[in-house]
């Protein structure tokens, strides 16, 4: 596992202490499932604070029968000691052709009614999420760019 943000620095320090033992070469964040750390992408205060502290949200539950989160699935995350809902918006996992693959696992926070906490999404979002069957019109409305 590797974490966005300060994790690279931390690992570099640990390398100096013990070079070989802390070496991690497995493919990181191959898919989002229970236990993966996500990156909050919207401009909500809660999400910003969590990312600045170096404590990214962690997936607790997934609303899908095979418990693997794909693009557009709703998840429950633990963030700063709270339980919040969210939507997966980008994945590192290799996707089908014409569907983008991102460098980090992205998500947008929601409240229990399905309204987004923030007012804007800061990174591009895949076009696949606009499908009508996903039912994510409220999140599409605050997006800035589609890929």
């Amino acid at each position: 596992m590797s974490f966005p943000g300060n994790s690279r620095l931390l690992n570099q320090i640990s390398l100096l202490v013990n070079y070989a033992r802390n070496f991690n070469t497995s493919q990181i964040l191959n898919q989002a499932r229970i236990g993966t750390f996500m990156r909050v992408v919207d401009n909500s205060a809660l999400g910003k604070q969590a990312m600045l502290d170096g404590k990214p949200p962690k997936i607790i539950g997934i609303y899908r029968k095979p418990r693997i989160a794909e693009l557009g699935t709703k998840v429950i995350v633990a963030i700063k000691g709270q339980k919040k809902k969210g939507v997966v918006v980008g994945l590192v996992r290799l996707q089908k052709p014409f569907v983008p693959r991102f460098d980090s696992n992205n998500m947008v926070l929601m409240d229990d009614k399905g309204n987004p906490l923030g007012t804007r999404i800061l990174v591009p979002i895949p076009n696949l999420i606009r499908k009508e069957t996903y039912g994510l019109n409220k999140i599409i409305a605050i997006a800035t760019r589609f890929v």
Binding site: F98, F102, D103
Partner: protein, 314 residues
Amino acid sequence: MVLPRVIKLIHSYNVPLYCQLRSASRSWIYKGGKGIDKGKGFSFTYTSTPDDKRQIPLSQKLIPEELESMRLKYPEFLPSTKPEHRNKIKTVLEHNDMLQRRNNIDIPEFYVGSILAVTVSDPNAAGKISRFLGICIFREGTGLNSCFTLRNIVDREGIEIRYDLYNPTIRSIEVIKLEKRLDQDLRYLRDAEPQYSTFPLDMEPELRKEGAPVPVNPIKVKMLPLPWSIDWFKIRYQHQTYGIEKMRGVWEYYYKRSVHNRHHNEYEQFDLMKEYRSHIPEDAQLPIWNKLSDYEKSTSEIKKKARRAKMIKR
């Protein structure tokens, strides 16, 4: 060690006296006895068949110099390296389909490292069209399965999209900068510094003379500090990375580990038969390139006109 060599010398002279002989060559009709028969268009062997023997001596090159660059230009027309998946009739049908698709869309020549812009008709996108620009990282697959990936960093977020080359929803493929890199695989840009894979989405295409040689960009990329997603210093001979700036201590560590785990063969660059198995021999390539060059000649004028019309529109 002298004794066995002498004995072998004796063997070589005494062979016909005390041994039964069976020649390894094939007889008139019976092909190898227990060999598997997989049909007419099926070449199960790595070697040539006795029916289509080579006419030109092995010391001479079979493919003329004009067609030598075709294998780099159209890598998807080569069949797969596994002979058990190869079939002559299948490849003919597949190539016909590919050329028919090429009549409708101008698929330009591009290499790993050149910058492309692709527009696609997408049912989910606004206006039913989406466009993406990026550097071509990787090409894979054979025939209609072939695809390529583009990478770009937009809003400080790295994005990669994989495209099928012969998908009928692709509207146009535009070459913005045509160049080669030192490697066939640039996926290490994921863990490189972001300046190497950021391009503005409204980048304008470079003008280029027709028939000029494709330049090779000898740039060496600076990597971010560890950890990486994959150890990009592949030491294997055939997949060596040349485009990474060497870091102190890292390369030696990976080298030692791969030797310790026996992933690495020290003399792999000298393994001639491994090289032969992973390549497609020139005798199998020649009919494909002949067919393609005929196709190029027949359609060159039409494509030129289309390009001129595009230029005038701008």
